[in-house]
Amino acid sequence: MYVAVKGGEKAIDNAHAWLSEERRGDLAIEELSSDQIKEQLSLAVNRVMAEGSLYDPDLAALAIKQSRGDLIEAIFLLRAYRTTLPRFGCSNAVDTDRMTCIRRISATFKDAPGGQVLGPTFDYTHRLLDFKLAADGEITDVPMATEPLSSEIPHITSFLNTEGLIQQEPNTQSEPQDLTREPLELPASRALRLQSLTRGDEGFILGMAYSTQRGYARNHAFVGELRIGKVSVELDIPELGFSIDIGEIEVTECETVNQFAGSKTEPPQFTRGYGLVFGQSERKSIAMALVDRALRWRELGEDNLGAPAQDEEFVLYHSDNIQATGFLEHIKLPHYVDFQSELELIRKLRREAEGFTQSKEAAE
């Protein structure tokens, strides 16, 4: 005889206890500290901060530890925490010309003022497993530069600007809308699109960007410039009448230079795509710039080719991995009421279909 299943409450508590035991793993192995994660898995920390829309390496490291390394789960933890924070105001636009760069490259010019600086990159490493690292992580001596990088490194695109070869971006002084405080309504401003892209899922943005390279709204991008470094964040304090420096954040900025043959409304010139992401997030910022450029077809008077990356609604509504994973995984929840109604319906339709066949046979 069926007994109504009670005790879901206990099951949940036990599941959580088991989960924390699994998180800790073998007790004979030393526990991982948040600081170790912050220092030694810093690119994971960066991704969690970027997609969590919260710049806090300590909390991001804690989230990674708590989520057993499931980065989307960690992003979710950070987002849920972020919701509870008050919004103080809107900072001034960060001045990336004054970025303290650790890396700065351009694919469009062999050399330019400020120079090419490789920085700590995987780019030219051979992807061979370093078995020595399994035994010990000792590092060899790292030579120091004889002189520091210039504190002001001009943007590559500014050189194209002097010739008028690249499209000028309008400088809007107005405060941008906040995606996390207002419902997304379409069409979205570019500022809003960029907000959405920078917190969007890295894999999704990468896939969208890749699709433009393979011909779905191809816009032939060059990495005009990629720079990584620290910028200071300044906030205007009305009571003081001037802005103050409230802290420093590390960001990755990518500006692409895209071919553009001109359109009905615009002369032939280079155009740009823009990516700005918290932390060292190179792949994400390049991908973001490509998708940003693809989404700008309307303002540049280009044709809508019906490519997914040109479809603002498609990109913005599906880039958020916290929304996506929640809705995807909710199909694990019980659906037996809806399923029951489907069962009844399909039985009814089958009865009717069988009845129809039988009466047809009788008539024949």
Binding site: G8, L184, G326, L328, L333, D338
Partner: protein, 279 residues
């Protein structure tokens, strides 16, 4: 962080949500965009309902949470615990004792009163979404009251299957104006939507709130010659014997044996109690 504001959300956010609720009540069936917040449970797991409940609850309220009609399903437990922890409100499993009821996929069998609020969790608030994927397009269709597409879909169902092939989330028309998604309740529950309680619908991921004031006219879409029918399994409950409650089918062995039991656990146990007392 151990101290939360009452019902988790800060007062400014609750105020924003209450405004959306009031607007929704003023325009029954109209989907009001609201700045949905990230909640500490996943999107798709009732974040819209949770935000509406959070904005609705007062310290004096008594909360009931059901999923699939049952109080003891895991996600209902999880949401109930969340409000016990963050709002410290009374909770109950008894439908008539609750002042706020948050539900997923069912309307309780017991009639609700004008002192109660029913909060629905909504996955996809747009009834036209699967006919037209674009949000600006569907908003336009609602504005122009252009519901031909929906009628064509229902008509095509009849011509293909001999019946309207929608068994849950069956579209309704509200006060002769907006076509509305009743959330994925079985169509058996549709007629109950004309009720004395306030009904609020929250879709967190899709950032929409809509509402039905008490006694609002809610008509399930149909045709004169194919009238709407609120169907359920043609059985009675194995546990309480009820003939007119919505039933879940439960597989009891591996040879195809099955029984039917009420999906509304509170209703079922109260019916069982009545039988016990009568004996």
């Amino acid at each position: 962080m151990n101290e939360y504001n009452f019902a988790y959300l800060d007062e400014q956010t609750k105020r924003m949500i209450r405004r959306a609720i009031l607007k929704g009540l003023a325009i029954p069936g109209y989907q009001v965009p609201f700045a949905s917040r990230e909640m500490p449970m996943p999107y798709g797991w009732g974040t819209g309902g949770v935000q509406v409940s959070a904005a609705t609850l007062t310290p004096k309220d008594t909360l009931k949470v059901i999923d699939q009609g049952a109080d003891d399903t895991t996600n209902a437990i999880s949401i109930r615990k969340f409000f016990q922890k963050t709002a410290n409100v009374e909770v109950t499993e008894v439908t008539k004792d609750a002042t706020v009821i948050q539900t997923r996929h069912r309307i309780p069998e017991t009639d609700l009163s004008d002192e109660q609020i029913l909060v629905y969790q909504v996955p996809i608030p747009e009834p036209l979404r699967f006919l037209e994927p674009s949000e600006p397009e569907t908003r336009k269709m609602h504005a122009l009251e252009e519901y031909g597409l929906m009628h064509v879909k229902l008509y095509e169902d009849i011509s293909k299957h001999g019946a309207i092939a929608t068994s849950y989330a069956y579209p309704v028309k509200v006060e002769g104006r907006y076509v509305m998604d009743p959330s994925p309740i079985p169509k058996f529950d549709n007629p109950k939507m004309e009720m004395s309680a306030i009904q609020l619908f929250g879709a967190g991921r899709e950032q929409r709130i809509y509402a039905l004031p008490p006694y609002t006219k809610v008509v399930s879409l149909d045709f004169e010659d194919y009238p709407f029918e609120a169907s359920k399994a043609e059985h009675s409950c194995e546990l309480c014997g009820s003939h007119d409650s919505y039933l879940d089918e439960v597989i009891v062995d591996d040879t195809g044996g099955r029984i039917f039991v009420c999906s509304d656990t509170d209703y079922c146990s109260s019916q069982q109690q009545i039988i016990k007392e009568a004996v």
